[in-house]
Amino acid sequence: MSAKINQWKNFSKGLIKENPALVLMLGMCPTLAVTSSAFNGLGMGLATTFVLVLSNMLISAIKTQVPDKVRIPCFIVVIAAFVTVVDLLIKGFLPALGESLGVFIPLIVVNCIVLGRAEAFASKNGVFSSLLDGLGMGLGFTLALTVLGIIREALGAGAFFGNKFIDGDGIIVFILAPGAFIVLGFLVALVRNLSKKN
C-alpha cells in the first residue's frame, strides 16, 4: 500500500507543490515566450512532457552503464535525440504549431527542467518511478503554460483557445513580451500565497 502512495507522490508533486514553472522557476524561457495563446502553451507543454517522460525513462534505464564523470554530456545527448524526434513529429503532423513555436522546439534541449529531472531524479530512481516523475513534472509544466496562455490570450486578444469573445483587439501588450513577464509575476505570487495557506 505504501509503495502505491509513494508512486502517487512521484507523480503528483510536479502538478502544484513542486510545479516546475511556478514554484521551482525552471524552464522560464519557453514559459514566457510561447504562451501568447493558450493553444501554443498547451502544445509546448505537451512537447516538453513527451521529451521529459522518454528521457527520464531512458536515462534511468542506462544509469548504471554511464560513467559518473561524463553523465551530463550523455544526458544531454539523450535529451537532444528525443527533442529532434519531437521536432520532426511536430513539423510533420502539426505544421501550424511548429510555425508558431519555431526555434523554441529545439530549445527544449536547454530547458533546465529536463536536465534537472534527469540529474535529480532519473539518475537515482527506477524506470517506472522516473516515468511517473517525468509525467507529473511535464503535466505541471503544461498546466502552468496553459493557464498563462489562457490569461494572456484573454487579456491580449480577447479570445479563448482562438475563439474571440469580444469585438476588436484586446490589450495587445499582454501578448507581447512585457505582458508575459507581468502576468507570470502575478501568477507566481498567487500560487505561492495559496500554497502557503494550505
Binding site: 514566457l32 520532426l88 526555434v103 507566481v188
Partner: protein, 190 residues
C-alpha cells in the same frame, strides 16, 4: 550602414531578453548584483560570438553538404558544451585573472538558451558569416546590457518595502515586464 542597423536592432529593438525572452534563467539568477552581472555578461559575449562562428561554419561546410540537417540540435548542443569547456581550459592557462573573474559563470553558460537560440536563429534568418558573427556579438551585448540594468534596479529594490506576497521572484518578474515595456519604445528606431 547595414551592419550598424543590425547591431542597433540586436541590442535595443530586438533585445534578446526583453523582446525575445531568451536566456531568462541566468537573467533572473545572476542579476542581483552589478559586479556579478558584468562578469556574466562578459562571459556570455565571449561564448555566444565564438559559438555562433563555429556552429555557422559547421552547418555550412559539414551538415548541409552531408544532408545531416536533422542532426542540427544534437550537434549544436555538443559543440556549445565542448566550446564552453575549451574556453574554460584555455582561459585558465592564458589569463588566470580573467578566468577567476568569470569564475562559476562559464560552466553555467552551456544551459543558457540564448547561446543555442542565437546559433539556431542565424541559420533561420539566412545570414552570411559576417552578419552571423556581428548578430551574435551584438545580441550578447544586449543580454549583458539587460543584465546590468536589471542588477542596478534590483540593488535599489532591496531597500524598498515590497508587499509581502510579491517579494522575491514575483516582483523581479514584474520589474522585468516594465523594463520590457520601456524597451518597446525602441521599436521604431530602425
Amino acid at each position: 550602414m547595414e551592419y550598424i542597423i543590425l547591431i542597433i536592432s540586436a541590442i535595443l529593438v530586438n533585445n534578446i531578453v526583453f523582446a525575445q525572452t531568451l536566456g531568462i534563467c541566468p537573467f533572473l539568477g545572476v542579476s542581483s548584483k552589478i559586479s556579478s552581472s558584468v562578469g556574466m555578461g562578459a562571459a556570455v559575449v565571449f561564448v555566444i560570438t565564438l559559438a555562433t562562428l563555429v556552429t555557422f561554419l559547421l552547418n555550412q561546410y559539414v551538415l548541409v553538404p552531408l544532408e545531416l540537417g536533422f542532426l542540427q540540435t544534437i550537434v549544436y548542443i555538443l559543440v556549445i558544451a565542448a566550446l564552453v569547456q575549451m574556453v574554460e581550459i584555455i582561459l585558465k592557462k592564458v589569463s588566470p585573472s580573467l578566468y577567476s573573474a568569470l569564475g562559476i559563470f562559464l560552466p553555467l553558460i552551456t544551459t543558457n538558451c540564448a547561446v543555442l537560440g542565437v546559433a539556431l536563429l542565424v541559420i533561420q534568418k539566412q545570414f552570411n558569416l559576417l552578419q552571423s558573427v556581428v548578430y551574435g556579438f551584438s545580441t550578447a551585448v544586449g543580454f549583458g546590457l539587460a543584465l546590468v540594468i536589471m542588477a542596478g534596479i534590483r540593488e535599489q529594490l532591496e531597500l524598498q518595502s515590497v508587499p509581502k506576497g510579491m517579494k522575491g521572484s514575483p516582483i523581479t518578474l514584474v520589474t522585468a515586464g516594465i523594463l520590457a515595456l520601456a524597451f518597446m519604445g525602441f521599436a521604431n528606431l530602425v
